[in-house]
C-alpha cells in the first residue's frame, strides 16, 4: 500500500488512502469516531469489483489535527465531498460517525454518491436530538490523532431525526439508484431509526449491501 494522497479542505489536509487499487467503480470508506482508514480493505468489502479508498476525517489518522476543537458533522460532510471531488462518483460505506456523514453526503451530492451503506461503528449515535446542555470542554494544547476534541464534540453533536431525514429524502428523490440508501447497522439511534423507517430505504448486511451496490 502506498502513502495516502493529501487533499485540501480549507485549512485542513485530508489523507485519502488507497486501500485496494483497481479499475471500475470506486468505493469510498468513511471510518467511525476515533478510527482511521489506514487499514487494508477488510473482508466485508471483498466483493467490491473496483478501487477502494478510505478517508481520514479532520482530526483523525494522517489528516491535520486542529487545535481547539470546533467539530461538526457538516464539516466532515465537506471532508467527504473533497474526497469525492478527487475520486469522482463513488459508492460510500460509512461506519458509525462515518455512516451519519455518508447519509449527509448522499443527500447533498446525489449525483456523486452511487449508493451509501450505513454500518455500525463508533460514533453512530451522536448526542441529543433537541435542547441540550453545553458540556464545558478544555481543549488539549497538543495535536494528536485522534483529536480528543473530535472524540468529545462528535460523540454528542445533535442529530435530530427530522434533520437526518432531510438528507435521506434528498438522496431518495434524486439518486438514479433504486436503493441509494442501505442500512446495515443493527443499533437504533433516533436519527437512524427515522431513516430506516422511510419507504425506499433498504436494510441488509454490509456484505450484502456491497454486493447489491456493486451490481449497480
Amino acid at each position: 500500500m502506498t502513502g495516502p494522497v493529501m487533499l485540501r479542505h480549507n485549512r485542513i489536509d485530508l489523507a485519502l488512502h488507497e486501500l485496494r487499487a483497481g479499475d471500475g467503480p470506486t468505493l469510498l470508506c468513511l471510518h467511525g469516531l476515533g478510527e482511521n482508514s489506514a487499514l487494508p480493505a477488510s473482508d466485508v468489502v471483498a466483493a467490491w469489483p473496483g478501487r477502494i479508498v478510505g478517508l481520514d476525517f479532520t482530526g483523525h489518522g494522517a489528516s491535520t489535527v486542529p487545535i481547539g476543537g470546533g467539530y461538526s458533522c457538516e464539516v466532515l460532510m465537506g471532508d467527504a465531498d473533497v474526497a469525492l471531488a478527487h475520486t469522482g462518483p463513488a459508492t460510500v460505506l460509512g461506519r458509525g460517525l462515518g455512516a451519519y456523514v455518508a447519509l449527509m453526503i448522499a443527500g447533498a451530492r446525489p449525483d456523486l454518491v452511487r449508493g451509501a451503506v450505513l454500518a455500525d461503528g463508533p460514533g453512530l449515535a451522536g448526542g441529543a436530538i433537541g435542547i441540550a446542555g453545553t458540556p464545558w470542554l478544555e481543549p488539549p494544547s497538543e495535536a494528536t490523532a485522534p483529536d480528543r476534541m473530535a472524540l468529545a464534540e462528535l460523540a454528542i453533536d445533535r442529530r435530530p431525526p427530522d434533520y437526518a431525514m432531510g438528507f435521506a429524502r434528498l438522496s431518495l428523490a434524486s439518486s438514479e439508484l433504486d436503493q441509494p440508501l442501505i442500512v446495515s447497522a443493527v443499533a437504533e439511534p433516533p436519527w437512524l431509526e427515522a431513516v430506516r423507517a422511510e419507504p425506499g430505504v433498504a436494510a441488509m448486511s454490509t456484505v450484502e449491501a456491497v454486493r447489491v451496490l456493486a451490481a449497480g
Partner: protein, 301 residues
C-alpha cells in the same frame, strides 16, 4: 496608506493585547480605566470589536472597563481551522481570563448577544448580568413553504455550501476602494450612515496592493442549514437567573433576526427587562448609542 478616518464620538480602544486561545490567536481590546470593573462586550457575526467604537466608550464613561475581542476569523483575530458556537464560547472565556476572569456583566449584540446568553446558561459562575441587544432568537418555521420547496431549498443550500468549501482554501475577499467596501457593507447595514461604514473599513479591512479587503476570514459563509434550532436557545432563557435586559429593534433588515416581541415574551425569566424599540433597526447600539448606553448603564447600576 490611507489614514484612519474619524467619526464623531468614535474612539479606538485604550488598550489592545493578544490572547492565546487554543488553536487561535485573538485580538482583545479595552476601553476605560484598567482599575474599573470589567464588562465583557461581544460583537455580532461578520462584525468586529471596532464596531463598538462609539458605544463602548460611552459605557466606559459610566465607570466600566469595557473588554471586547475580535471573534475567531473576524477583525484582527486569526483565521482558525474550525469554527463552532462552543469554540466561540471557549474563546470568550479565554478573553475574560486574560483580564482576571469572571464573574462580570456581559453585553452582546446579535450573535454576540446569543453567545453571551449561552455563556450565562453554560457558565453561570462567570456572569452577573446579561444584556442582549437584538440577538434574541425566534422560532423560525416557515409554514407557508411546502415540503417539496423546502427540500429544493435544502438541496440548493447544501450544493452551494459544498461548492464553496471545495474552493475555500484559496478564497479571497474581493478587493475595492475604501468607498466600494463601505457601499457593499451598506447593503447589509442599510440604516447606517456611509461615513460610519467608511470609518469601519479603515479598521475592519486592510489595504493591499490591489485595494482594500475586509479582514473577515474568506472561508466564513452564511449557511442555510444545520441541526441547531433557534428555539432551543429561546428555551434556555427562562432559566437564566442573573438580571437580564433584552432589547429588540423592530425595523426589519438584512442582518436582523426577524424576531417579534411575542416570540420572546413567553420565555423571559421573572423580573427580566424587555425593551422594544420602534423605528430602530438591528444595530440598535450604533443607531442610538446614547440611548442604548444610558439604558445599559442604568440597568447595571
Amino acid at each position: 496608506m490611507t489614514a484612519l478616518r474619524t467619526y464623531p464620538e468614535a474612539s479606538r480602544p485604550d488598550r489592545s493585547w493578544r490572547v492565546d486561545a487554543p488553536g487561535v490567536d485573538l485580538a482583545a481590546y479595552a476601553w476605560g480605566e484598567p482599575t474599573d470593573p470589567v464588562l465583557l462586550l461581544a460583537h455580532g457575526g461578520m462584525d468586529f470589536a471596532g464596531t463598538m467604537d462609539v458605544f463602548a466608550p460611552k459605557l466606559a464613561a459610566g465607570g466600566w472597563q469595557v473588554v471586547s475581542w475580535d471573534q475567531r476569523g473576524h477583525g484582527d483575530s486569526a483565521h482558525p481551522m474550525l469554527y463552532s458556537w462552543e469554540a466561540d464560547l471557549r474563546d470568550a472565556v479565554t478573553v475574560l481570563d486574560s483580564v482576571g476572569g469572571g464573574p462580570v456583566p456581559v453585553v452582546g449584540h446579535s450573535k454576540g448577544g446569543g453567545l453571551m446568553m449561552a455563556l450565562a446558561d453554560s457558565r453561570p459562575d462567570l456572569v452577573t448580568a446579561l444584556v442582549n441587544l437584538d440577538g434574541l432568537p425566534s422560532k423560525r418555521n416557515r409554514p407557508d413553504v411546502s415540503d417539496r420547496e423546502r427540500r429544493r431549498m435544502l438541496a440548493s443550500d447544501l450544493g452551494a455550501w459544498l461548492d464553496f468549501r471545495r474552493r475555500a482554501h484559496d478564497a479571497q475577499r474581493k478587493p475595492g476602494t475604501l468607498e466600494d467596501l463601505a457601499r457593499r457593507r451598506q447593503r447589509l447595514n442599510g440604516r447606517l450612515p456611509i461615513e460610519w461604514l467608511e470609518y469601519l473599513v479603515t479598521i475592519g479591512a486592510r489595504e493591499d496592493a490591489d485595494g482594500w479587503r475586509w479582514k473577515l476570514d474568506p472561508s466564513l459563509r452564511f449557511g442555510g442549514f444545520g441541526p441547531i434550532r433557534p428555539e432551543w436557545s429561546l428555551q434556555r432563557l427562562p432559566g437564566i437567573r442573573v438580571p437580564l435586559l433584552g432589547v429588540l429593534g423592530l425595523e426589519m433588515e438584512e442582518m436582523g433576526w426577524g424576531t417579534a416581541p411575542a416570540d420572546v415574551e413567553p420565555w423571559l425569566p421573572p423580573g427580566a427587562r424587555f425593551e422594544v424599540l420602534d423605528g430602530v433597526g438591528h444595530f440598535v447600539h450604533i443607531e442610538q448609542p446614547d440611548r442604548m448606553a444610558a439604558l445599559v448603564l442604568e440597568f447595571l447600576s
